[in-house]
Amino acid sequence: MHKTISVGALARVEGEGALLIKIKDRAVTDVQLKIYEPPRFFEAFLRGRDFTEAPDITARICGICPIAYQMSATHAMEDACGVTVDGQLRALRRLIYCGEWIESHALHIFFLHAPDFLGCEDAIQMAKAHPQIVERALRLKKAGNAIMSLIGGREIHPINVRVGGFYRVPTQAELGPLAEELKWARDAARETVAWVAKLSFPEFSQPYEYVALRHPDEYPFNEGRLVSNKGLDIAVSDFEQHVVEEQVPHSNALHAKLQARGSYHVGPMARYSLNFDKLSPIAQEAARSAGLGLTCNNPFQSIIVRAVEVLYACDEALRIIDAYEPPPKPFVPVEPRAATGFGCSEAPRGILYHRYQLDAEGHIVEAKIVPPTSQNQRMIEEDLRTFIPPRIDLPDDQLQWQCEQAIRNYDPCISCATHFLKLTVER
């Protein structure tokens, strides 16, 4: 049996990608996740820009997770300039990140992922059979966006994040209505965990190496050491000593791997499995009643883990709002110096690493950005190599749909993955 399954354009992922699977004599001979989204060269044109511009510019790498870019960039710049942002400003950064997790995860759970489990082409079709679910989804997503809009000015490419903090901080009164809606959202998130736990999941467990941030006191957003379940434990600044990026012919995005052991997995499943003890009691409780253990190794269950993280983010947002007192100044002053700074934060899809080298005037001399999807690319291909053989006799259209679903488990963001390539000129 020789056959090729080819998906010209993957649906319900961010950005443009395709899939090619070759099967020969009942064996999978090739799996290529092809990322053909055109390169946009961010790293090249960041050079020469002022260090204060990086949060606004790098946000445009991805409209789905702009806060991740703004947070990794601001932390890297502050690291270079020797500044720490503390107290309520730090709390507000966690709060806006909660907003991004809620809206991005809600989008993925209900709009990109759940339709697969229910056999629907999209959420609009799903809305006909399950109207209440889709209405709840929209309101939950809106609650995340409301945090983004209030703290950030708008939900996509927020304008209020700056190196050192914010341009303007909210008053307590402004946060009041947000808290009311978040209480509803927390209940809705708990119901969502219970709902997704009832979906049926293919038998598929993988011995992943999970990599995520780990912070001594908190479920990670912006800070911590990079750890794995197979012995990695490094400072963010050592990332490039351990991770290598390779170019492959079939993709416009680089493949990252751990020098020591190869492919690794980043994202909600990695965060959850390495930081279960740091989730709030409500989130832990919901995870337990959903039947999740302290770790989760079935990527199809990432939908449950995302729902648990939405619940955590609602809970954490409420905690922050409750303890909020406006800081005396919206930002701490940051003076540039010639230095290199590192930043890594937990985008909804996994760790997002930034490194900038600055000159004494604060111009960017060199920029390096490694987004989560380029780290997961190899893992996605490896999943497919294991996933397909037991299903090799399925009719092509079913096999194709299941493979697409296996890719969507990762919520891959292809726009993010292709930010960096250098230029070839064609005339």
Binding site: P38, E121, D122, I124, L138, I159, E404, K422, L423, T424
Partner: protein, 259 residues
Amino acid sequence: MRARTPKRPKLAVWKFASCDGCQLSLLDCEDELLAIAGKVEIANFLEASRAVVKGPYDLSLVEGSITTPHDAQRITQVRKASKFLVTIGACATAGGIQALRNFGHVREFLSVVYAKPEYIETLATSTAIAEHVKVDFELRGCPINKQQLVEVLSAFLKGRKPNVSSASVCIECKRRGTVCVMVAQGIPCLGPVTHAGCGAICPAYHRGCYGCFGPKEAANTASLSRQLTVLGVSEEQRQRLYRTFNANAEPFRTESAHA
């Protein structure tokens, strides 16, 4: 399979080089999304649906700029298959942030060691959709304002012109009652030359406008540049100010060349 009601107009959403933010604005219309979906047939919207219905399409929303030979081809096919074509966002209407490659950086990019450049196909420029095909309406912003998107969709459904202001951000500031950050605090601001649409968010958050909605009609950039100099903005800073998400839009491109 989706039931087809022939009367509903077919809507298609297309992506070229972009960050996905503008098409996400459609999914971010949480209050209106289901109503919109009831009024149109979503015939092609890959970010949201596996279902793909063949053209022709009554309305195409196009996000992103043209940066590859293949995309230059593809946009002509999209145009042929579409009755109305609306560009959404700074990428599609001005080339976007990726148009920074247009400013003579090409050599520099090439000099950066790249393992296997032969695998990559890219043009030396990033250009707006209107430089390639006829466009019926352009919606500005990086990202677009979702309320304006809803206005464009309802105008389309009712067969009227969209009611989208072509004034400057300054006018929106006045309407909002924000004190001018440039006059009162000496903060450099592109508001006087920037197209309205965002609701003047930045000044309300105590920062100057950085021009993400692109140049307004008949923008007096020369006059603004003189004022920026008075405020102590260096030529180099001024150039960077004009060269962000709408760097390749004509008035910003020309003014930044003077710096």
